[in-house]
Symmetry: C2
Subunit: 301 residues, 2 copies
């Protein structure tokens, strides 16, 4: 019997039925059109639409926020207007079955560990690089949820003391230096082209040999390698799985490989290589469902 995975994003709710081998079917997507209780009701509607017609073993929910590791209460999910929301408890009561709730990046890391690029390994580090940096860690085949329930707050490692300000209130955070928005911001700071530019434009120009664009991509990939090398010295995972729009871009990953090699002297024993995430946009759905099955059931049937 499959399990139901629901991945609540900033703008849409993705969902699907996930089997014990990680395959997913009945994939759906609907917009999130409200916050607070409205958003909760929409999640319930999605769940009920499956439960009414499909046998479902377990229900797992991925969401963009933090979950208290002890109480499993959603501590904060700003995009959804949830603070100290007993989401699992309320969904469980309404659906009359156990529901497991987890941070979306953690779900994606779990999915890659079980069925994607981390398959067969003991430890999986997923780093997603899009507008910002996110990710999750699986250590000794267990999801690292951390003491405060967010696990890897990767985008906000203090990479550069006294560096560029971050929306989190600190300065010098990794995602200000190694993300899609960092690509755009650095192009702007260097007056690369008049007006706003996209990361795609910078990457394409670099591929076409524009020396200024090459320098911008090198600057961003160098800072990504700096953070990856730091992480490797702590965890020595051997390999890091890169996901997200920029992290999946082959042109960018070539620069990252080169930048990592330049850090090699400081990490000869903890050297790290990168490989692409494999599960794409369904990783949250897959990870949420499989975590629910792993935690609540002995296995899928």
């Amino acid at each position: 019997m499959p399990s139901l995975g629901i991945d609540i994003g900033g703008t849409k709710i993705a969902s699907g039925l996930v089997h014990s081998d990680g395959t997913v079917h009945e994939v759906r997507s609907r917009p999130v059109t409200g916050m607070g209780e409205t958003a909760l009701q929409q999640v319930l509607d999605v769940a009920r639409s499956y439960l009414a017609v499909h046998p479902v073993a377990h229900v797992g929910v991925a969401l963009p926020g933090g979950v208290d590791p002890k109480t499993r209460v959603v501590t904060t999910a700003p995009n959804l207007g949830w603070t100290d929301m007993s989401l699992a408890q309320r969904l469980s009561a309404a659906l009359d079955r156990q529901v497991h709730v987890e941070n979306d990046a953690n779900c994606a890391a779990w999915a890659e560990h079980r069925f994607g690029a981390g398959r067969g390994r003991t430890n999986t580090v997923l780093i997603t690089i899009g507008t910002g940096i996110g990710g999750g860690l699986v250590v000794s085949n267990r999801l690292l949820v951390g003491h405060h329930g967010l696990g890897a707050e990767l985008g906000h490692i203090p990479l550069v003391i006294g560096g560029h300000p971050c929306k989190c209130g600190a300065s010098g955070c990794w995602e200000q230096y190694a993300s899609g928005s960092a690509l755009r911001a650095e192009a702007r700071r260097r007056n690369w082209r008049p007006g706003p530019v996209t990361g795609e434009e910078v990457l394409r120009a670099a591929a076409d040999g524009d020396p200024a664009a090459v320098h911008i991509v090198e600057w961003v990939s160098g800072h990504l390698a700096h953070g990856l090398t730091t992480m490797a010295a702590f965890l020595d995972p051997g390999e890091v799985v890169l996901g997200g729009g920029l992290g999946s871009d082959k042109r960018f990953v070539e620069y990252v490989d080169t930048a990592l090699a330049a850090f090699h002297p400081s990490s000869s024993r903890g050297h790290v290589t990168v490989r692409p995430a494999e599960l794409g946009i369904h990783s949250g759905v897959i990870g949420a469902a499989d975590l629910a099955a792993t935690i609540h059931g002995s296995a899928h049937c």
Copy 2:
């Protein structure tokens, strides 16, 4: 029945019998007076001196080097002149019983996790600050040995790009900024006092209100807090256990607390506090013995 722990250091071999509650007795210490086969023979002599007169369940060895996570071969222990040394296998054959071999910092982290400052927690991060920075990580109650078998290569995270050169061949490594030798080096760079100074002199002068000494200690503790905050963003351990000469110094730890608070905005969710290691110089012996008992036996008897 207790287990035997042997902790091979740079200059001496410490040993003792360790019970299932972490207590240690029959503690001994002898100098290491040779390298290569000579050092191996000295370890054997120590083990035999216990086995001849005491019932011993398991034997664990801590050593300053790396151990291949799959083969358990000692990849490199430069102070002992060992490279690709089948230490566990050779000791096992000579002593006619299973021997477990592990990096010494990992053994200390395991000991603190089981019986010291990390007791009762799921994750324990031990950071030892002496001349350099070392340490080990226990995640989900399992020692993190890492892909290359060294686990936490903490002292060599690339903290400052283009920073002070490190003996490892790279530059900007954490231990060049946040250790006993960093305290001395920074005092020298600032021409604090003529001639060589010790870390103790700097700490004492800072405690007496010498403004220049205060700045040096703040500089070092600030860089320690930088690395700790970075680690917390990856692992969110809540708490970090500090050991080693400098890491155990109450005067220094006060500065570290202050410096960590200054990093708080960037790590509000991954905030980390420090607490002192509890097991002192016997942690290697205790951890090695208890790891052997945990891995080779169901329990001590």
